[in-house]
């Protein structure tokens, strides 16, 4: 079945089973490197994508439910030459170890802060309570997110 998605500003049509989780469309059909398979259960955040302004778990989101939606992945935020301010904050804080979780961390934090620019530290913490970083780069990541929040306001 043909489904059209707008990914990182570009309309793309894919021919897939409509029940296919969005993650496989992004990573396999479209070859994007940002969204990653972590658990396939919506528990860890590695697969996050921003859909119409909200961070969703693409591993449990059937692609048919996001047809015609605006989808942004990590590589859609900024580029290596011109990173998005939140990506720059992570670079400045050297906030990563293996980097596998960064997609979910950055997109979840960005979507949340865009909706809740005045969120308290406790709110941000709550928003990130279903996101994992198994290298436990928490201190640096939370610092980077705070920096981004301060900068954007």
């Amino acid at each position: 079945m043909n489904i059209t998605l707008t990914v990182n500003g570009r309309a793309q049509t894919v021919d897939v089973d409509p029940a296919t989780p969005l993650l496989y469309v992004l990573s396999d059909e479209l070859g994007l490197r940002g969204p990653k398979f972590g658990c396939g259960l919506g528990q860890c955040g590695a697969c996050a994508a921003i859909v119409n302004g909200r961070a969703v778990r693409s591993c449990v989101t059937p692609v048919s439910t996001v047809a015609n939606a605006q989808i942004t992945t990590l590589e859609g935020l900024g580029t290596p030459e011109k990173p998005h301010p939140i990506q720059q904050a992570f670079i400045d804080e050297q906030a990563a170890q293996c980097g596998y979780c960064l997609n979910g961390v950055i997109l979840t934090a960005k979507a949340y802060l865009d909706q809740n620019p005045k969120a308290s530290d406790a709110d941000v913490q709550q928003a990130l309570s279903t996101v994992l970083c198994r290298c436990f780069t928490n201190t640096r990541m939370l610092r980077a997110i705070k920096k981004y929040q301060e900068k954007r306001s």
Binding site: K36, Q87, Q125, R134, T139
Partner: protein, 765 residues
């Protein structure tokens, strides 16, 4: 045994093959050890196999130690840039590609820095290259070497700026044709301009912008997708596979069965997942697993392989003669690596040749393992290390490399396999469950007179090395035996103390036949270990056995200090002899502003200290944790963690801090929540609801690092130091806060409440 010693000797391991027909003709080819070039074709004695100066003046270095997230790629680039005198931006590092990189065994055991940053291997190759370049420049410029200086890859004559030549002009694109010179002079830490400074991670921008290629992103033309179907329980065997049950499903290419290995290949990943779910497999048998609830008691009763690590033979007498004695038992569960991304590999097997893209820590051993699993010569396998999710030891990277190879072999096309979360968690090689009994005697002065330690731990499988693919699940499923325990009594120790597993507490003298290698003062000492066959695969998990042992030693030391009403810091110092350990204990106490006071403090706020000489001599570290405990709920809130660390000369201070911070919090997650669980037949901790990791958003403690930068000694590892101490430091802090001693990891709210109920807090007089 230290892991580095193990690596040196692992080529001599006895090989046991189940599938002899496959392996027999190839056996000779697998009898190689690490750093053995018989089969690698990349001779580490040749400088050109480590360093190439390109025509444009950039430098390409080749290493057998690869980036797992710990920052070793950047640190190695700093090393090469420093030794050669070129900017960091002009260094490219090729990691763990068996076609071009020397065989450096496995990237593990906090050994990458000791291996490549001291007077050998990559560091020595870079120093050799610099000397060779200086010699060439000296001839070219007609000036003696001692008048030459290097900056930015350009050699110039001091006092004659017109005379200069670049590396690119000297050798650009050509080979050195030299052997690595063991006598080539290294740059010393006081000369360092690039090493020793915080360097930005070379991969940071790519990671943050989603452009870095992980193995999960590898795409090969014509690539199909595979999914494995693991048995319903350990030891279950295939009776039949009903291929017709998935034949009509869209995209299904093939159902693959090889002994007890079952998998499906499909055109798209989602199709493979659905087919694997739908495939009807008739399994039989399976082992009954000893009950989780009584597992620690079970361990004590099994036949075991024993080792006496240290024995002064007077412990019983000294205990009897002591003023008072203490004993306690510490329990540590199976824990898992639980990588963020499930393991993934891409294999392209054509006839009897294979290319495997893998995030394995062991490129060459995986090359041999894939060869054995497929029954082809190791020379025909090319392993290309490709970044994966952080592994913290042996996650599923090796086993999924075999999975991909088997499926690709069956269809003759490239196949990618990424494990499901459940397949990753239920079948990985867990960190060792351990029971540790401690006994100590105290003399009339309050000093420790004798220390006795007896432990029971588990083993099955492990790293496959070069010749035991059965050490991980896929290898066993296709018929290779895992390494297992042969029960054997212990012989008395000989030679000198090897404390690579930190089985011996820091506070004893560690004497064998008059030679003392311990870090402490207690003369009456005995350490006896038992290893039991594990029902699950086991393998190194960040600070393997060292963390379990240190939890027991450092908590027990605290118990003894409390027993004699001594301050835990002063009491440790009184029993330590190793100056580097003394220094880190003093440094952490100072940084945390530790002052002696009532101990335990009670009032639900407390602090705890722990220290260790990691692997006996591979990094010196001390930690103080400050906690508050909610006595009603049993919840532990860690407010602050202070770490002092001496790992010799520091390559990248920011990288080291990152490792300390990550290690401290990973250690906290393991101390507070992580435990593998099971029922009679299968593992039940199979996702993030059933295996409890701390999330990104929790009450993250403040972490402060004191880095002791010590020159004039060898560089040691720094990736496993901090994590080794967390359970002990937090356990000790809980005791200080509540007067209740918690001796079982993880410190769940239930267990903390139970411990408090057994030790009701007394109001302070």
């Amino acid at each position: 045994m230290k892991r580095r010693d193990f690596l040196k000797t692992s080529g001599a391991l006895i090989v046991s093959f189940a599938a002899v027909d496959v392996a027999q003709p190839l056996r000779a080819a697998f009898a190689q050890g690490p750093f053995d070039t018989r089969n690698s074709g990349v001779d580490p004695k040749q400088l050109d196999n480590w360093i190439a100066v390109n025509a444009d003046g950039t430098v390409t270095a080749y290493t057998g130690k690869c980036e797992l997230g710990q920052g070793i790629m950047t640190a190695q680039m700093q090393l090469v840039a420093e030794e050669l005198g070129v900017p960091l931006s002009r260094v490219k590092l090729v990691q763990c590609d068996t076609a071009v990189c020397p065989d450096q065994g496995t990237t593990s055991g906090s050994q990458s820095t000791p291996t490549n940053f001291n007077e050998r291997n990559l560091a020595q190759a870079a120093a050799t290259a610099r000397e060779a370049l200086m010699q060439l420049a000296s001839q070219r410029l007609g000036a003696p070497s001692d008048r030459l200086t290097v900056a930015g890859g350009v050699v110039s004559v001091r006092g004659d700026a017109a005379k200069h030549v670049s590396y690119g002009e000297l050798v650009g694109g050509r080979k050195f044709n030299l052997t690595v010179n063991a006598a080539a002079k290294r740059r010393t830490p006081d000369q360092w301009a690039i090493l020793g400074k915080p360097a930005m991670r070379a991969d940071m921008v790519a990671m943050a912008t989603g452009t870095l290629e992980y193995v999960q992103n590898v795409r090969v033309p014509g690539m199909l997708h595979g999914r494995v179907v693991r048995p319903p329980s350990h030891g279950a065997t295939v009776v039949s596979v009903d291929e017709a049950s998935v034949r009509a499903m869209p995209g299904v290419v093939k159902v693959v069965t090889c002994k007890n290995f079952v998998g499906v290949v499909a055109e798209k990943p989602w199709q493979a997942i659905q087919a694997a779910r739908a495939l009807k497999v008739n399994w039989s048998g399976g082992e009954t697993i000893p009950p989780h609830a009584t597992f620690y008691d079970y361990l004590r009763k099994q036949p075991s392989r024993d080792a006496v690590v240290i024995n002064s033979r007077d412990v019983e007498a000294k205990l009897t003669a002591s003023q008072s004695t203490l004993k306690a038992t510490y329990l540590y569960p199976y824990q898992m690596h639980g990588s963020m991304g499930t393991s993934c590999a891409v294999a392209d097997v054509q006839g009897n040749t294979a290319i495997v893209w893998s995030s394995t820590q062991s490129a060459y051993p995986t090359r041999s393992g894939v060869a054995m699993v497929l029954g082809i010569p190791a020379e025909n396998v090319h392993v290309i290390f490709t970044r994966g999710s952080g592994c913290y030891g042996i996650n599923g990277a090796d086993t999924v490399s075999y999975d991909a190879a088997l499926l690709s072999h069956a269809v003759g096309k490239p196949v990618k396999v990424q494990l499901s979360r459940q397949d990753e968690m239920a079948w990985e090689n867990y960190g060792f469950a351990t029971v540790i009994d401690q006994r100590a005697g105290v003399d009339a002065s309050g000093a420790i007179a004798a220390w006795d330690c007896e432990s029971w731990s588990v083993s099955k499988g492990g790293r496959p090395g070069y010749n035991q693919p059965g050490n991980v699940v896929t290898g066993e499923l296709v018929g290779f035996e895992p390494a297992t325990i042969t029960p054997r009594g212990a012989a008395e120790p000989t030679g000198e103390l090897r404390n690579g597993s930190n089985a011996v507490p820091s506070y004893v003298v560690g004497c064998i036949s008059g030679k003392c290698g311990g870090a402490g003062a207690v003369k009456s000492e005995r350490v006896l270990t038992h290893t039991i066959r594990s029902p699950f695969y086991t393998g190194p998990l960040r600070s393997p056995a060292r963390l379990q042992n240190t939890f027991a030693h450092e908590c027990f030391m605290d118990e003894i200090a409390a027993h004699v009403k001594a301050d835990p810091v002063e009491y440790r110092l009184k029993h330590l002899s190793e100056p580097r350990l003394v220094d880190v204990v003093k440094a952490v106490a100072k940084a945390a502003n530790w002052q002696p006071r009532a101990f335990p403090n009670r009032g639900n706020a407390g602090r705890g200290i722990a220290t260790v000489a990691y692997e006996g001599d591979n990094g010196y570290v001390a930690m103080i944790a400050e906690v508050s405990v909610d006595a009603a709920t049993g919840r532990v809130h860690v407010k602050r963690i202070v770490v002092a660390q001496d790992c010799g000369p520091i390559s990248n201070p920011d990288g080291m801090k990152n490792q300390i911070e990550g290690g401290a919090l990973q250690g906290l997650s393991r101390a507070l929540g992580e435990e593998v669980t099971w029922d009679d037949h299968k593992v039940t901790s199979i996702d993030w609801r059933t295996y409890h990791s701390l999330p990104l958003g929790f009450d993250v403690p403040v972490i402060e690092s004191v880095l002791i930068n010590r020159a004039g000694v060898e560089a040691t590892g720094a990736g496993e130091t901090a994590i080794t101490l967390v359970a002990a430091a937090v356990g000790n802090a809980i005791f200080d806060a509540t007067g209740a001693r918690i001796r079982q990891v993880p410190f769940t709210p239930e267990r903390v409440k139970t411990a408090i109920a057994g030790n009701p807090a007394k109001s302070q007089a």
